[in-house]
């Protein structure tokens, strides 16, 4: 238990940010018209690909002879980057169609 209290007190600003970010997320999305729900979901999905940063850090820090970490990290990077690239690309394709026709 002491561990947790120590962790929280030494990372207090992390928790401030966490809570404020929750509110920002809620405020940003609250009044979006349903027309945009699909692209929004897809865009948010691309953003969750930010987990790729963690995958990169894992791979960069792995020892060159630690094949298990490297192998799993490799898959993590591939999956993460598919999420990012595919997510943003497909959102863009969808939004392309919403452009006003002349």
């Amino acid at each position: 238990m002491n561990d947790f209290i120590e962790f929280i007190s030494s990372n207090l600003q992390l928790f401030y940010i966490l809570i404020l970010a929750i509110f920002i997320g809620v405020e940003l999305i609250k009044n979006v018209p349903s027309v945009l729900h699909t692209p929004l979901m897809s865009g948010a999905n691309a953003l969750s690909g930010v987990v790729i940063v963690g995958a990169l850090l894992v791979m960069m820090q792995a020892k060159p002879d630690d094949y298990l970490s490297l192998g799993l990290g490799f898959i993590a990077v591939v999956l993460g980057i598919i999420n990012v690239v595919g997510g943003f690309a497909v959102t863009d394709r969808m939004l392309q169609m919403f452009k006003k026709k002349k």
């Binding site: 997320g25 349903s34 999905n45 960069m60 595919g86 863009d92």
Partner: protein, 467 residues
């Protein structure tokens, strides 16, 4: 941490917030997506090149290959997929994000194995790692199941007492994870057990949920992936992951509630709910329906449409399945030329994803102003001569108003039965995704135009051209 890198992460975080904000308005959405993408690329490049530790060359080579492979794959999938397949795709990508998070958790736990007690991670860190593994696994298999169900390769699976089983399994997962933290184990075996159990839970969690509720589930899983990303962010004290993940988490959760509201159901009702939960529920409500249906032909329907002054088209999932969005636009243009006032009635949850119909119709160049949302179109139905329902079912089912025993009772619907004539295009008399009968089809004013949406509408267009 490198100060330049910190500043880059700060910039990325701000682009995420701005990007999400802009995504919420039709005019700025495209720009918002672009800005967020730029922020993401910045964060990735920054992470790769601005660090204060040595990275072996072989690691860089492997990372480069992984990035290249993933980028090409992601790009091809995104460019190839049909617009009708969008819900599946978002779900699939989401599963990949979850998979990435779970692998990171696994590696992080592994790197804590076999080190001296003094260098061991604190139990707070271990808990965070386990949370990443559990949530990542649940979103991974959950999203894959959602994907498989949406593309029709998997049926709903309902074990007896599945709610009870799922809840017990979830509690067991949490208890088991707490146990691992408490005994401060070195055993990778226990972690693999936890991993497998989480994967199974993700599967069982989504498997019983009906297809009509998939949009809500996808949004919820999306939110969970965000949370998994944020948790790994805590692990590394990495702000961009933390804020980015939490933004997605809270935005996804709000979106989930907005959708539940559109269906007038609570989230717990969707997840544990009875929606089609009892296969016999539909048969019971059919007591009122029975009756006879009236079949019609393309030429009769064409005459009806030709002499109408106001026509409202109600598109549904059947339109998407048949890829009929272009021919319906052709029909609309043709009727407009003949002086008919044509508009589309868009139910918030028509299709398999909110806004699904808007995306489809926008693809075929339908004018944005012709798409009218439920609350605005409902008062117009009494002055409407003909309603053309194409592949929609549950969203026009009057049982939502007048049959308290119906599973969709209380859901806001399009009141098409108030119009003078209703033409329903369907492939067959099969019930909709929710598995319930629709008394609208037995209404005296309704005529059924059977057939694949694309074929039927093409025939309609041909008939209209000859008039």
């Amino acid at each position: 941490m490198n100060i330049t890198l910190s500043i880059i992460y700060l910039i990325s975080t701000v682009t995420f917030v701005i990007g999400l904000k802009l995504l919420g308005h039709p005019e700025t959405a495209k720009k918002g997506n672009f800005i967020a993408a730029v922020g993401m690329i910045l964060a990735i490049i920054g992470t790769l090149f601005l660090h204060d530790f040595e990275v072996p060359t072989i690691n860089y080579v492997l990372i480069g290959i992984a990035l290249l492979v993933g980028t090409i794959l992601g790009w091809i999938i995104a460019m190839k997929v049909a617009m009708t397949k969008m819900p599946e795709l978002v779900s699939l990508f989401n599963g990949f994000g979850g998979g990435s998070a779970l692998l990171i958790g696994l590696i992080e736990f592994g790197s804590n194995v076999g080190v001296d007690d003094s260098a061991k991670a604190s139990s707070a860190i271990i808990s965070t790692t386990l949370a990443a593994i559990i949530i990542g696994s649940i979103t991974f298999t959950g999203s894959l199941v959602a994907w498989a169900k949406l593309n029709g390769s998997m049926k709903d699976l309902r074990l007896p007492k599945y709610n009870l089983i799922n809840n017990i399994l979830f509690l067991a997962l949490v208890a088991f994870a707490s146990y691992i933290v408490l005994i401060n184990t070195n055993s990778l075996l226990l972690i693999y057990v936890l991993l497998v159990a989480s994967l199974i839970y993700g599967y069982l969690f989504v498997a019983p949920i009906g297809g009509a509720d998939m949009p809500v589930v996808i949004s919820l899983l999306n939110s969970l992936t965000g949370i998994a990303a944020a948790i790994t962010g805590i692990l590394y004290g990495n702000m961009v992951m933390l804020v980015g993940g939490i933004l997605v988490g809270s935005a996804g959760l709000i979106l989930t509630f907005v959708m539940c509201n559109a269906m007038n159901r609570s989230l717990s009702n969707v997840i544990f709910g009875a929606f089609g939960g009892d296969a016999n529920a539909g048969a019971i409500t059919s007591g009122k329906t029975g009756g006879t249906i009236k079949k019609t032909t393309a030429s009769d329907s064409a005459i009806l449409l030709n002499y109408a002054s106001k026509v409202v088209i109600v598109p549904g999932y059947g339109l998407a399945v048949a890829q009929a969005q272009h021919v319906i636009h052709e029909l609309e243009v043709l009727l407009t030329k003949k002086g008919v006032d044509v508009s589309y009635a868009i139910h918030p949850v028509a299709g398999r994803m909110p806004g699904h119909m808007n995306v489809l119709l926008a693809e075929s160049n339908v004018d944005y102003d012709k798409l009218i949302e439920m609350d605005n179109i409902n008062p117009q139905f009494p002055n409407t001569d003909v309603v053309l329902v194409v592949g929609a079912n549950d969203v026009v089912n009057p049982a939502a108003h007048n049959d308290p025993s119906s599973p969709i009772y209380g859901m806001p619907i399009l009141d098409v039965e108030n119009a003078k004539h209703i033409i329903v295009n369907k492939r067959s008399m099969n019930a909709g995704y929710a598995g319930i009968e629709n008394e609208l089809f037995f209404n005296q004013k309704t005529s059924m135009l059977f057939g694949d949406a694309k074929d039927a509408l093409s025939k309609l267009v041909a008939e209209l051209k000859n008039m």
